[in-house]
């Protein structure tokens, strides 16, 4: 397997270089682009990034493993991340988790066999006033109820 950035991403990276005092600053932006391209970050992508911004691949790997949002393994097409921190816990997170587990047949950390869903629990999403909250890929879903979760998942299943 090999990894190459798309032409569009390579152009973006070049343009970003002029915005920073050093190309080293681009490790996070590059890791994001790689993750959007492939839905996860492969070791090949890490090597490519190292070459582009002049850092040893091990350094990029250290960075990639530090941040929880970078997936070093493929995740489902829909990555469901339920907030588990205090405000959400006070407002019914446990019930939401149970509902998600039953409906998807998954425990936190697992992916469905067809690759459609991954379920994880995450720390505070900065949306405590509209708890309980989950994030699916880049989208927030707030003030959750079991019924709301069903509607959201129904529409995703129809779409896929």
């Amino acid at each position: 397997m090999s990894f190459e950035f798309t032409k569009e991403n390579l152009e973006k990276i070049e343009a970003l270089k002029s915005r920073y005092p050093s190309p080293k600053a681009l490790s996070l932006p590059c890791l994001w682009m790689a993750q959007y391209q492939e839905r996860y970050i492969s070791l090949e992508a890490i090597e490519t990034i190292g070459d582009l911004i002049d850092l040893p691949p091990m350094e990029i790997y250290r960075v990639a493993t530090f941040y929880t949002m970078f997936n070093l393994e493929p995740v489902g097409k829909y990555h469901i991340q339920l907030c588990k921190t205090l405000s959400c816990a006070l407002c019914g997170k446990a019930e939401m988790l149970n509902h998600l587990k039953n409906r998807l047949g998954l425990s936190p950390g697992e992916s469905s066999s067809d690759g459609a869903f991954t379920l994880t629990q995450v720390e505070c999403l900065g949306s405590c006033g509209t708890a309980p909250v989950m994030q699916i890929n880049d989208q927030y879903y707030e003030n959750l109820t079991p019924e709301k979760i069903d509607i959201i998942l129904d529409s995703l299943e129809e779409g896929s």
């Binding site: 970003l16 915005r19 920073y20 005092p21 050093s22 080293k24 600053a25 681009l26 490790s27 996070l28 932006p29 890791l31 994001w32 911004i53 850092l55 350094e59 250290r62 960075v63 530090f66 941040y67 929880t68 949002m69 970078f70 588990k84 921190t85 205090l86 405000s87 816990a89 006070l90 407002c91 995450v122 720390e123 505070c124 999403l125 900065g126 949306s127 405590c128 006033g129 509209t130 708890a131 994030q135 880049d138 989208q139 927030y140």
Partner: protein, 416 residues
């Protein structure tokens, strides 16, 4: 309750994130006035206003700006902190999604004052949908000639770049944020002995919270005295206080410092949900000492009074808990958070957060003894004052306050 709209003035206007709408309501009007002043004059005004940083520490903004060199051959930078990961805190998100142009206006004035041409907004990775709104506002500002080679025709270049984080609470700590922006792991740096700026690739850099920067245009427009019409002598102005947990109407409501906490919760929060009684409030984001209902009754929302009641104002994000809340479970929830988020550099923090989480789990499983409660307090001392950043001391404060104030609930869960 005194109405305050220093940063929330446009929050209720439809589509106020769009340049055209924002301009109809006065956006960018203060730029002309600001550029007519010298950088030093602006810093003087900010200093006189008494503006305090709104990211949690409450450090005086003016004094921090004065640390930035006015003539140095190195470039100066501004890093705007939109990491917003402190549990219970969700205010910066309101600013970037409802009035991003206010933030951009504040950034331009701040950069002019500290002689910087490059600002970064470090935004938590999860906030992508709000980041997009902010990016569109920035793009609109470039197209309109508000950003770019010449800010509104002035001989001043200004570039703003959004830098996206990727899920790490500790990157909100200012030196960890800059490490992260340098492309590294978000590890806080050792603090210098004397007061000095922060450093970004060795260049002098100012780090301020989103709301701090968004307060600047008001101060330029209404002067230091105008800002001081709100708040108290030592905590002037307002804050976007937040409420979550067991209240009827959780959310963000701007209020002046010095507002009684109980009144705030009742007036804006509509009181405790389902007619229940209040048990406790964590006042300023998760990392502040929990207050009992009695303490809440006499607390006022300013830095000085929160110290008097033995806690801290922090980010002003209040987590409200009703009489049915299990305080042992609540502490366990927070310890899991800290355990997950410790950056791992310092042994007391890395091990202390892990052990306290494990011990409390044992208590919750019904296998704990009262010795375990003392062990938690011992771990708190080990974490206090021995680490690179104040993350671990904050964990110590949280453990001590929960056990100190609700010890009977912990005792009830242990066997002997």
């Amino acid at each position: 309750m005194k109405a305050c709209q220093i940063v929330s003035r446009k929050f209720h206007i439809d589509q106020s994130y769009r340049l055209e709408t924002a301009k109809e309501h006065g956006a960018y009007n203060t730029l002309k006035e600001a550029f007519a002043l010298s950088p030093v004059e602006i810093i003087k005004t900010i200093k006189e206003s008494g503006l305090r940083g709104k990211g949690g520490g409450g450090a005086p903004a003016g004094a921090k700006w004065m640390l930035m060199p006015q003539d140095d051959e190195r470039s100066s930078y501004l890093a705007v902190n939109c990491d917003e990961s402190e549990p219970g805190t969700f205010k910066d998100r309101e600013i970037i999604s409802k009035d991003p142009h206010l933030l951009i206006e504040g950034i331009i004035i701040t950069c002019y004052a500290i002689k910087s041409h490059d600002a970064y907004i470090y935004i938590r990775g999860e906030y992508y949908q709000f980041q997009k709104i902010l990016q569109e506002a920035i793009d609109e500002a470039y197209t309109a000639g508000i950003l770019g080679e010449r800010v509104r025709g002035e001989a001043y270049r200004m570039d703003i770049t959004i830098h996206r984080g990727a899920g790490a609470y500790i990157c909100g700590e200012k030196s960890a944020l800059l490490e992260s922006m340098e492309g590294k792991r978000g590890h806080p740096r050792l603090k210098p002995k004397q007061k000095e700026p922060e450093w970004y690739f060795g260049n002098p850099t100012l780090v301020n919270n989103v709301e701090t920067i968004a307060s600047i245009p008001y101060i330029i427009k209404h002067g230091a005295e105008g800002y001081r019409e709100f708040g108290t002598e030592r905590s002037p102005g307002t804050l976007l206080f937040a409420m979550s947990g067991h209240v009827e109407t959780p959310g963000i409501y701007e209020a002046e410092f010095g507002t009684p906490m109980f009144d705030y919760i009742n007036y804006y929060g509509g009181g405790i949900r389902n007619g229940k009684k209040l048990k406790a409030v964590i006042p300023g984001g998760a990392s502040t000492a929990v207050l009992t209902a009695d303490e809440v009754a006499c607390a006022t929302l300013d830095y000085e009074h929160m110290r008097v009641v033995g806690s801290a104002l922090g980010t002003g994000g209040m987590i409200v808990m009703d009489e049915d809340t299990d305080m042992v479970e609540a502490l366990k929830n927070l310890l899991e958070f800290y355990h997950h988020e410790s950056c791992g550099q310092c042994t007391p923090c890395r091990e202390g957060t892990g052990w306290s989480d494990t011990i409390l789990q044992r208590v919750l499983d019904g296998r704990g003894s009262s010795e375990d409660i003392d062990k938690l307090l011992e771990l708190a001392s080990i974490m206090d004052g021995k680490t690179i950043c104040v993350f671990a001391p904050a964990v110590a404060i949280v453990i001590r306050s929960f056990i100190g104030k609700f010890r009977d609930e912990f005792e009830a869960k242990v066997t002997a």
